[in-house]
Structure formats: C-alpha cells, structure tokens
C-alpha cells in the first residue's frame, strides 16, 4: 500500500513542476549601424491643444541576428528595451517581414519572431522610431536594446 501512495505523489509532483523557457541574449553584433546616433525633433512643433511634449526620431537598422545556436530548434525572439535613462521612452518599428513589427516601452520586451529557426542568421530591415518625453532630454543619452531568445 505504501509504494502505491509514493508513486502517486511522484506523479503529481512531476505534473506541477513548471517547465521554464531559458532566455539567452542573441548575438546581434552584425546589426548595422550598431552604435547609431539619432536626432530628435518635436512630434508636434506647435504646442496646440493638449500640450504634446514628445520628441521623436526614426532610423533604419539592418538587423542581423546570429541564431546558429538554435538552428533547427523552435524559439521565440524578443526585442528588449531595458529600463534606463532618460526614461519615458517608447519604441515602435516596422519590418520587411522576417521579424514582426511592434512597439514597446522602456522596461519591457516584445515578440518579434516565433517558430523554427531554419537559418544560422535572421536578417531584416527595421525602421525604428523612438519617442521620448522632451522634458527628460537635457543631454545626450545612449539607449541600449537587445534581442533575447526563449527556447521552447
């Protein structure tokens, strides 16, 4: 009788253990430009109506992700904008189709790819737009992005 109870416990325990995906930073060092400068301009030059104090800038990136370590495996790729100075940032982007378009705020990440990795590199042209609260922009700020892979 006791062995049967033990077996049942083991089965239940195994069933409730969550399977966590492993997150790894993807080598995106072949992305161009890798250290880009971005000039901002007023999203709304004239402060009409509900005052808009946002500044916006757009640049094009040739994203090249080294996904060779995940070749022939499934995974999900995220674009990450860590929380950092100057804060109050949002990013949005369009793509040529290999990656998903989307948007995110500082301190979050957004899915840009999901599925089987069939090639050692994933490449796309990304039109990235950054929006920043002008009141935080008293100086130049380097803003770091990264791509993360979650293994399935």
């Amino acid at each position: 009788m006791r062995p049967l109870i033990l077996s049942a416990f083991c089965i239940i325990w195994l069933a409730v253990v969550p399977v966590e995906a492993r997150t790894t930073v993807i080598d995106d060092s072949a992305t161009l430009p890798y250290n880009a400068a971005l000039s901002l301009h007023w999203q709304q030059l004239e402060p009409r109506g509900h005052v808009n104090n946002l500044m916006v800038g757009t640049l094009q990136l040739r994203v090249r992700l080294n996904v060779a370590p995940w070749l022939k495996r499934s995974g999900r790729i995220y674009l990450v904008l860590p929380a950092q100075q100057p804060g109050g940032m949002t990013a949005s982007w369009t793509t040529h189709g290999r990656l998903l378009p989307g948007h995110l705020t500082a301190g979050s990440r957004t899915l840009v790819y999901s599925g089987l990795v069939t090639t050692p590199f994933i490449e796309d042209v990304v039109q990235l737009t950054l929006t920043v609260d002008a009141r935080r922009m008293g100086q130049a700020y380097p803003v770091n992005f990264r791509f993360e892979m979650d293994d399935d």
């Binding site: 930073v25 060092s29 250290n35 402060p47 922009m137 130049a140 803003v143 770091n144």
Partner: protein, 236 residues
C-alpha cells in the same frame, strides 16, 4: 590498481564538465555584451514663434551649450527671424477733441482676427490687434523658463515738421473673445524706450488681443504723427 572501465569513463567526463562550464560562462559573458545602441541627441533645438497682426516669424536656435547636429546657423543671442510686415495702429482726432483728455480708441489695419492657436475668432479686427506665439524648449533645464516679448519704443511720435507727441500717450487693454484669467500680454502703456510687454511659458502657446488708445492729454500741432514700435521675442 588500474581503474576499471567505468572509472576510465568517469574521469574524462568530469574534466569535460569543467571545460563545458567555463565555455558556457564565457558564452554568457559574451552574449551579455551584445546589444545595439542608439545615442539620442541632446534634444530638439529651441523654437520660438511670434505673430503680431499680419505676418509672422519662426525661429529655431541653439541655446548655450547646444550641440545640435548639423549646427543651427543662429548663435545664442542672435535674432533668428524677422517679420517684415508692419501693422499700423492709428487714430484721427477731431480738431475740437484735441487735448480733451478723453481717451480715444485706435484701430489697426491688421485683418487678423482668427487665432493661430486653434482657428477661433479670438480678436475683433480692426479694433483689436492679435498677438500670439509659442516657445518650445526640451530638457528639465527649460522647465519654468519663459520667453519674453520686449517692445522697443521711440520716445515720441513725430510729424514732418518735427513736432512730437510722447509715446506715453498710447496705452492698450488686453483680452479676447471667450477669454478668462490673466493675459499673457497684459494691458499697459508705453512707458519707456524698452519694456517687456508679455511672456510665454515653456512649451505653451500664449495669445491676447490688444486694443490701443490715445489718451489726448496733450495739445500737439496739427499734423500726422508716426512712430514705430519693434516687438522682439527672445528666449533664454
């Protein structure tokens, strides 16, 4: 004693595990450094805009320490733009009213009654003269700063014969249709050769409608008297 087969198998496996651990660590460190960077420039240049009656100017310039790329042509302290349109405000005084001390409303040749802010019929031309503008500045250092409008005024209005009427004879009230609260360009009178006639808070639009009056407390010679006032919007 020579190790058995199982022991032989175990020994290199232990060494493999150590090497794998080191490689994994190295890989993680390398991966952590992979992140593309976008350097945000310090901010959009300051921008000012002023509209008085008909005609306008918009200026974009760098303040102190500005590192705009490409560089902005205007240097700090320079005048970024000029409205070449001269709006006229005038009054004709009947001979029997000269010097009677009863203020007489002046009119303008400006046809501008519509607000440049929202298209609202804010002023009533030709009695009122529209004045409005905005001041844009990024960064915490710009918060709380104001752009000011300064009037540069001659001492007198003069006629062809050299007769003069003091500019202090002219004053104005301020207000607009549906307006409430304090005016950004308040009522006043010409009091000197240079005076601040209003201000614009950072990242705001400000507008008023001015109605000028001639106080008629002096008795000048008959003639046509003119004088030009230059309004300058400047930001810190």
């Amino acid at each position: 004693m020579f190790p058995g087969r199982r022991e032989t198998d175990r020994r290199p496996r232990g060494a493999d595990s150590l090497v794998s651990g080191i490689l994994l660590l190295a890989l993680l460190i390398t991966s952590a450094a992979d992140a593309f960077t976008i350097t945000l420039a310090g901010g959009a240049p300051k921008t000012i805009y002023l509209q008085i009656g008909v005609g306008t100017f918009t200026g974009t310039y760098c303040g102190t320490g500005c590192s705009e790329i490409p560089p902005i042509a205007q240097s700090p302290g320079s005048a970024p733009g000029t409205n070449t349109t001269i709006n006229t405000v005038s009054v004709s005084v009947a001979a029997n009213a000269v010097g009677n001390g009863v203020a007489q409303t002046m009119t303008t040749d400006s046809t501008q009654s519509i607000s440049f802010f929202d298209g609202f019929a804010f002023c009533n031309a030709p009695t009122q003269l529209y004045i409005g503008g905005f001041y844009r500045t990024p960064g915490a250092s710009g918060a709380g700063t104001t752009a000011t409008v300064t009037a540069t005024v001659p001492v007198s209005l003069t006629d062809a014969a050299g007769d003069a009427i003091p500019f202090t004879q002219i004053s104005w009230t301020s207000g607009g249709n549906g307006d409430s609260g304090a005016e950004p360009f308040p009522a006043s009178s010409f009091t000197g050769t240079s005076q601040v006639v209003g201000s614009i808070a950072d990242n705001q639009w400000a507008e008023s409608c001015w109605t000028f009056s001639y106080s008629k407390t002096v008795v000048p010679a008959a003639g046509t008297y003119t004088g030009r006032v230059l309004y300058t919007l400047s930001a810190p």
